[in-house]
Amino acid sequence: MADRVILTIGTKKGVFVAEAGKPRRSFALRGPFGPGIPVYSTLIDTRGTPRLYASSCNPFFGMKLLRSTDMGRSFKETKSAPAFPKDDGRALANIWALEPGAGKKELWCGVEPASLFRSNDGGDTWQMVPGISNHDHARKWEPGNGGLCMHTIIRDGKRLHLGISTGGHYVSEDGGETFQASNQGVGAGFTPDPYPEFGQCVHKMARHDDAPGRLYMQNHGGWAEWTGPGGPHPGIGVLRSDDHGRSWRSIAKGLPSDFGFPIVVHPHDADTVYVMPLDPATRSCPGAAPAVWRSENGGESWSRLARGLPKKQSYFTVLRDAMDVDRLKTPALYFGTTTGQLWIGREGGEQWDCLNDALPPIHNVKVAVV
């Protein structure tokens, strides 16, 4: 079978799957699966026979994890979803991150309230990872507007990076046994201490295999005008680390805003990174004119990519997991909006087309070539 480009689109009313051939001229849409139920995380697991996963945040009957083994033509519940031990006292509120682990069947899952789970059987059974879930800091983390969520899981051999809102960045050097807060240079505009040990509102992180030690972070920026305790904190929203996340520095200079949610790295160039700057008050693009911004030198400078996007009066938000990039030779970017639009940025974001303009509000967009 020829390569197919598969998109999973997690929305307020279920998960959709879109499929196209390599030219990506048009996408066939399927779904919704898990209809009517919000989906905040999806995963296209390309290890072996492709499997698609979607969380299903059922407000009535609790969290489910859906799995498809037929490329998104049907989904079934896994045998169980992550759950806290009965005597823990916490109850699962949402599933925010699904990432493949080692081998063909290991999965990692970040949840709300911020905790980490691991499955060794493709999602049928789950074990809580105590090193972070019961970390000394865990009961001190505070929820942000989106809830106290563990939204980013990045594997780098035995190293494991986690992004928590509002907990900050944590790293394990021993495969997930123990974790340390690692936030030097990661600012927080909402605490009297502008650079606390932990408690930052990390929005998303990304890395590339070709740049060992480098990480990019979209943090909760938008504090340049702040006049309260600690004074203004310009540029704390978009950050880079070159030492495996031990220290971070701003790369926000040149962006119209350092506030935003997603951050995505080019699949073939570790120096090319994409963000979508948002006005911190409205969570929409500055001037109501949407644009993705691209750096091709690791954040030293930025350029605006907006050809084909609306030029005015667009007030959508693109959430933390609603932007992704495919791995074809000339990759395309994709983002979904809170107003239900799904966009493709052809030629690495040079030309934007709306693939669908009437989906439910979009939380999550993932892409894979299978």
Binding site: P59, F61, G62, A83, L92
Partner: protein, 95 residues
């Protein structure tokens, strides 16, 4: 000692797959609490949809004993009598 009352539990449509397709279950339980405990023991898949990990009835799910919401009675300590109908209904929502 009075015999343990048998009540009839009405299962909402979306949850019937978790109990073999049954629309109703006959269960012996003197209180709502013991009813839920019995479900945890004998219908664990169904129970997981009704209660979270802490054992609390899920927030947007209502449990009625006959026509009264258990929250207006004595919560999970509400006593059950032979022939009582226990009805589970998702809360109204929209948007």
């Amino acid at each position: 000692m009075a015999p343990t009352p048998t009540i009839r539990l009405h299962v909402p449509g979306p949850l019937r797959d978790y109990c073999g397709g049954a629309a109703q279950l006959s269960i012996q339980a003197p209180t709502v609490r013991t009813l839920l405990e019995e479900l945890e023991r004998s219908q664990s898949g169904l129970y997981g949809n009704l209660c979270d990990e802490t054992g609390r009835l899920r927030r947007h799910l209502n449990l009625f004993v006959n026509s009264d919401n258990m929250r207006d009675l004595e919560g999970v300590d509400t006593k059950l009598a032979p022939g009582d109908e226990v009805i589970l209904l998702p809360a109204v929502s929209g948007g």
